[in-house]
């Protein structure tokens, strides 16, 4: 399927949370959810180890929260080893290596818990689905975020290239230890 969400193996995992293959009939809320993500109606996305928060703008603003377990130390170390030598971007081969090593980057659906402050009764609601699509998109762009979600926080080695794009510069400690 030629979807704009989940264009890499890293994001595809999260699109699958919105569109599980077990669904016999497509969820009627899916087109709306995709459209919300596409039109940047999912904002303030914060990805931290084990949790994601976001705000979805659709009939008001709704806070969405997604929780998942982080890896233990051993798994974190193994993931670090597998990404050693790769630059900021990660190819799909690292994803499949993790799957082969028995620790797929994405959490299984049954250990993911979701919350939304909307009053609808249906779960997952359209806001949660929209958040899944937006997460898929962000992981497509930055595969390392998928690892950060599982607790591999400092996998980002400083760029080794002779020129560094402004977007990859880290503002913390910009002036060095002693400050300005």
């Amino acid at each position: 399927m030629n979807s704009e969400f989940g264009t890499t193996a890293w994001g595809r995992d999260w699109r699958r949370l919105a569109e599980p293959t077990s669904l016999t009939r497509p969820d009627p809320a899916l087109p709306k959810a995709r459209s919300l993500a596409r039109r940047d109606h999912v904002t303030d996305v914060e990805l931290r180890p084990g949790e994601i928060t976001a705000v979805v703008h659709h009939s008001g603003s709704h806070r969405v929260r997604v929780d998942m377990p982080v890896w233990d130390r051993e798994h974190v170390e193994r993931a670090r080893e597998l990404v050693t030598g790769h630059g900021d971007d990660l190819p799909d081969t690292v994803h499949s290596a993790l799957v082969r090593a028995g620790q797929p980057p994405a959490p299984q659906p049954d250990v993911v818990t979701t919350n939304c402050d909307c009053t609808g009764r249906k779960r997952p609601c359209v806001h949660i689905l929209a958040a899944f699509f937006e997460i898929a998109r962000q992981l497509d762009h930055r595969p390392r975020l998928a690892l950060a979600l599982r607790g591999v926080e400092d996998s980002h080695s400083p760029p080794s290239t002779a020129r560094v794009p402004i977007g990859l510069l880290d503002p913390t400690d910009f002036y060095g230890e002693t400050g300005r």
Partner: protein
């Protein structure tokens, strides 16, 4: 500052005064754009601040013996330690990691990246070494600072496979590549370029790296050239040969350079596949087209220079081409830039302008096609068999021959109208078309001068077909004043006006103001260089605040090359040193038949 061989003091309101207080050279005041944390402290954005500039060598000398007072920042402290190490010839490896981002935050000339700490330290070391040793044998000696930074970047790119050198036309991509090749002495190197540029490459190599062996690997009996290639040899070949010659991928190279690399823009073409099969430690693609906006072309180039960086073509199309081109996604475009930015060096002429003189002049040497050479030799033979006679008729006949030969160099169709397609028949026409396609795709405007009405009309017709524009006006003496003025106004003042204007050299002599153009092409040679200069000054005159690049096209091994050598003073004509020379054409008519024949006969191939 990696691209200008200097240090910048910044971070306070009065950098010069503060530097003086601290016992540092105050430097020249300016303003400088740096990558700095914004007011939230969460993002880095470009910001322009007051600064002063100091040349690298004196700055390093002062810093090396300077003891920083308590109040100065981490960046300056670490630089002082680095300067001491450089000054005393000690390693800096342990210090580079201590340098905070603020110590190398000057925005690069490409406006989108900064140079890394180790690139900045290397540049400082190079600048000091240069100031102290002055090695004139290296092509580096003639490079401008931004070009030296480019060469250092190309060399370091081998760690990631290679890179794309995408500087604007006129900024010297070729000379940067030659300086790089000069340093690659462990294995042979390969340069692939369009046929129209072979002559230019061998000439530029001979000029900037005379001690480098150059082999031209073309033609049917080329198979032996590769056997004689030694470490450091540069093998020159064409895309045509690359497509069909397995011998090129059977061996390994130190550096492979693809010039006009948009030739491999289609990832599935034979040429692209053959390029990806080449084995090399360092793979460089050179192009002047805005490659980051043409995503499939970008993938194809980077699959050659940095295999694997962008993943498979299918994944790349899903991940970036769709979102960027179909959905206009800024996030995807920005992320793509983060991934490819470090591997593409693209500097625009206007951003480098402070480093450049107001006028840059380059010769573009083009090969003759077989059709041109056949006609050229036939015309020579015919004229010499008939003889030139003596007196006034001799002068007239010689001038007629010279005109015919120049027309053949311009295009065979001008002397024997066959009505066949124009492309592929004249080295100069093909090269001029490639150059104008690149310039116009970058939004630049260009003037093309010729001395012949017929050539101007042929060029206008061809460019209209080949360039993505339906308007290529030709300003010549046959037009009325009103029509001429309208052409000039459209070109000079109308934002939607034509990007290319052709002018007859004679009609363009007086009073025209065409400063909208930043590039001037002389399609043919005038006998008198002063007339060419006068024409170039249509673009380069008062009111022009940008650098004008003047490209003079010439056909190698023909009278055009001889004229060029006379203009440059490299060649003088025997028997014409009478002191009353009025022009090269007059001089030529005074030569004996033998002298004239020797001058006009195509010289052997491969001789620079």
């Amino acid at each position: 500052m990696v691209e200008s061989d200097g240090f910048a003091w910044w971070g306070v309101d009065d950098p010069a005064g503060t530097a003086e207080e601290l016992g540092l050279p105050p430097g020249d005041e300016t303003s400088l754009t740096l990558a700095l944390p914004d007011s939230t402290g969460r993002r880095i954005t470009p910001r322009t601040v007051p600064a002063t500039l100091v040349a690298a060598e004196p700055a390093v000398v002062t810093l090396s013996s300077w003891s920083p007072p308590e109040k100065v920042g981490c960046s300056l402290r670490v630089w002082a330690r680095i300067a001491a190490a450089i000054h005393h010839g000690e390693p800096t490896d342990g210090l580079v990691g201590l340098l905070p981002t603020a110590g190398h935050a000057v925005l690069g000339l490409d406006r989108t990246t900064i140079w890394s700490a180790s690139a900045a330290v290397d540049a400082a070391r190079r600048a000091v070494t240069r100031a102290r040793t002055r090695d004139s044998s290296s092509p580096q000696a003639v490079l401008r600072p931004y070009q030296r930074a480019g060469v250092a970047w190309l060399r370091a790119a081998s760690e990631h496979g290679g890179g794309v050198l995408a500087d604007d036309m006129g900024l010297g991509k070729t000379v940067q590549a030659i300086a790089l090749l000069w340093e690659c002495r462990e294995q042979p190197n390969l340069v692939v370029c369009p046929t129209s540029l072979l002559g230019n490459w061998s000439r530029e190599l001979a000029r900037f790296a005379p001690d480098v062996d150059v082999l031209t690997h073309t033609g049917p009996d080329r198979s032996r050239t590769l056997e004689t290639a030694r470490p450091g040899t540069v093998v020159l070949t064409t895309y045509g040969v690359l497509r069909g010659d397995a011998a090129l991928s059977d061996r390994s190279w130190q550096a492979v350079v693809l010039d006009e690399a948009q030739q491999i823009k289609n990832p599935d073409s034979l040429g692209s596949r053959a390029a990806r099969e080449l084995r090399a430690e360092l793979r460089i693609a050179m192009t002047g087209t805005p490659v980051e906006n043409r995503l499939d072309e970008l993938w194809s180039l980077m699959a050659f220079t940095n295999p694997g960086l962008l993943g498979t073509h299918a994944r790349f199309r899903r991940r970036f081409v769709g979102p960027v081109q179909r959905n206009n996604s800024r996030a995807a475009a920005q992320r793509l830039h983060e991934i490819v930015g470090p591997h593409i060096l693209r500097r625009r002429k206007e951003d480098v302008a402070p480093e450049l003189p107001s006028k840059l002049e380059t010769s573009v040497v083009c090969a003759m096609t077989d059709e041109q050479e056949r006609l050229y030799r036939a015309s020579l033979n015919e004229a010499f068999e008939e003889g030139f006679g003596s007196g006034t008729s001799r002068r007239g006949r010689i001038l007629a021959l010279l005109t015919r030969l120049k027309q053949i160099c311009n295009h065979p169709e001008l002397v024997s109208a066959e009505g066949k397609p124009l492309a592929g028949r004249s080295g100069k026409l093909d090269r001029a078309t490639e150059m104008l396609a690149e310039l116009t795709s970058n939004g630049a405007r260009a003037l093309v001068f010729t001395q012949y009405r017929g050539t101007g009309e042929l060029l206008a017709e061809h460019f209209r077909d080949e360039l993505a524009t339906d308007e290529v006006p030709f300003l010549h003496g046959g037009l009325g004043t009103g029509a001429r003025q309208e052409i000039v106004t459209r070109f000079q003042d109308d934002p939607q006006g034509p990007a290319v204007l052709i002018l007859s050299l004679r009609a363009a002599g007086f009073g025209l103001n065409l400063t909208r153009a930043t590039h001037v092409l002389h399609y043919d040679r005038w006998w008198n260089p002063a007339v060419e200069d006068q024409a170039s000054d249509r673009a380069h005159r008062i009111g022009q605040d940008r650098t004008v690049t003047v490209h003079t096209l010439l056909t190698e091994r023909t009278l055009e090359e001889a004229i060029a050598e006379m203009h440059e003073g490299k060649r003088s004509l025997a028997g014409t040193a009478t002191g009353e020379s009025t022009g090269i054409d007059t001089d030529l008519t005074r030569l004996s038949d033998e002298q004239l024949h020797e001058l006009l006969l195509p010289r052997h191939e491969g001789r620079p």
